[in-house]
Every structure is written in C-alpha cells, then in structure tokens.
C-alpha cells in the first residue's frame, strides 16, 4: 500500500508517517501543499492520499477537486486530516471529493479505522 501525505507542517507529516509505519504501511511519499501533491501524483503511483486542509498555494479542498478533475487520479481515495471539524467544513470537504475525515488531534486507532473505511468503500 503506497501513501501520499500532503501537509505544510513537516511535524504533522512525520507524525502521520510514523503512525502509518506503526500500522505496517512503510511506502510513504510526502508533499508540502496541494500543488506539490499533484506534482507527486504525476510521477508516483499511490494507493491512498492523506491531506491536510489549510495549506499555502493549494489547500486540501482545492487539491481534492484537482485530483477528482484529473482522469489519471479521479478514483484515488482521499482521507483528510485537519482541525477544521465544524459541520460546514465536513460538508465542504466531502463535496470537494474527500472520502473520509480525521479530526486533529487523533489517535493511531482512528487513522487505522478511517483508512480501512476508505479502502472498503
């Protein structure tokens, strides 16, 4: 299973990748914003994307829309990890094409559960 972790915080990328490693997922690529994420997707094969919302240059919601608009990536599962957890935020993210949602702060168990839910869907 290959992951792309998109977050402008290097700390949060490391936390998520550490969590994925502990869950047995060791192939993880990184990007610092949505635009870099699209560049990575053009050159790397990925099975699941984990993205933040608030990022410079291209936000997580804009990134999700770009992924869905691209024939090569439109079916890619997207999990959003963010502090934006108001009801309106979740609706906006789902409309943009996000498959599931993790609210920060999170536990490894939550990440595992959401990954499994996204892959089952």
């Amino acid at each position: 299973m290959r992951f792309l972790v998109v977050d402008d915080s290097s700390t949060m990328r490391r936390i998520i990748i550490n969590t994925l490693n502990k869950l047995g997922y060791t192939e993880c690529h990184e990007a610092g914003n949505g635009r870099e994420g699209m560049d990575k997707l053009a050159t790397q094969s990925v099975d699941l994307v984990i993205t933040d919302w608030n990022m410079p240059e291209m936000s997580g919601v804009e990134f999700a829309r770009a992924v869905r608009a691209n024939d090569a990536t439109k079916a890619l599962p997207i999990l959003m990890v963010t502090t934006n957890a108001a009801q309106g935020d979740i609706v906006e993210a789902l409309k943009a094409g996000v498959n599931n949602y993790v609210v920060k702060p999170f536990t490894p168990a939550t990440i595992k559960e959401k990954i499994e839910a996204v892959l089952k869907a």
Binding site: T11, N54, P56, T83, A85, A86, P105, F106
Partner: protein, 161 residues
C-alpha cells in the same frame, strides 16, 4: 468585557485534549486564570481567529518544555530534537486553536483560524493594546510550566447569528 468563562473552559479542555491525545501527557491545571508565568517563556506560538469572534490563541513555554513536547510528538529523544521546535510548537498551537474553534462552532457561527506563527528567543515580552481582553491559563506539564492565553478583540459579532 471580561473573557467569558465558557470560552476559558473550552480553551482549557481543548488544550488538555491535544496534549493527552498527541503527546500522551496529562496537563495539570494550575490555580486561577491570568496567572503569571513562573519563568519567562522562550517559545510563543500564536494562532489568530476571525469571524464571529476575533482574537488570538497563544501557547507559551520554556525552550526545555518545547523540546520535550517536540520530542514526544515526533517520537524521538529530546537530545535528538534539532530545529524541529518551531514547526512542532506551531502545530500544537494550531491543534489547540482548531479544537477550540470547533467547540465554539457547536453553538455559534464558526470563525476562521490563521496559520501559526512561532517566536523563539530570550528577554522579550508580548504587549497588546488596552482594548483587548486576555486570560492566561497555566498548566504543569511534568514539572515544566506551560500556559495558553486567549486574547479577544471586541465583542462577538452578534449580527452574523
């Protein structure tokens, strides 16, 4: 206008949740709000919010506490922490402010939060105009003092309700 107790309670519980979940660290609330820091803060992480309410959430810590927080978040020994403190402390402040925002959004229109800014140094203080309302909540973190502060500028925007 003073800072409403309900906002202070939301900020305190948001801070405790972030430290408990992401750092496996139980914070012990110290008595009283508006407490002065026992020692000067070397690391100050700030996130602004605007919309229905306007203001700042500020996280203060010593460099020792910031290195402990960073090491715990990244799963590395404190002695190996090297340059990661600004990003890690900004992320903690972001999660505290974001959790605080979400709690408020359950009962009022949501505000937006900014990206975090982090100031690190010695012999500095943060000053605001007299028109703001501030409450600082100190915590003990395994012998180190940290605190979070809520700064409000003006009343909530009731017209947007």
């Amino acid at each position: 206008m003073s800072v409403p107790e309900s906002l202070i309670a939301s900020l305190v519980s948001a801070t405790e949740e972030v430290f408990d979940t992401m750092l496996a660290t139980t914070l012990v609330r110290q008595t009283g709000a508006d407490g002065a820091l026992a020692a000067p803060a070397n690391v100050v992480a700030t996130v602004a919010f605007a919309g229905h309410r306007r203001g700042l959430v500020v996280l203060y810590s010593s460099m020792t506490a910031a290195r402990a927080i960073t090491g715990s978040m990244l799963g590395i020994p404190i002695e190996d922490v090297n340059g990661e403190v600004p990003d890690a402390m900004g992320e903690v402040a972001n999660m505290v402010a974001g959790t605080f925002r979400t709690r408020l959004a359950a009962s009022e229109p949501a505000s937006d939060i900014s990206v975090p800014t982090v100031t690190i140094g010695n012999d500095f203080s943060t000053l605001y105009s007299s028109a703001v309302h501030r409450t600082r909540c100190p915590f003990d973190m395994q012998g180190e003092q940290i605190s979070v502060e809520l700064i409000l500028t003006g009343e909530a925007d009731l017209k947007r309700r």
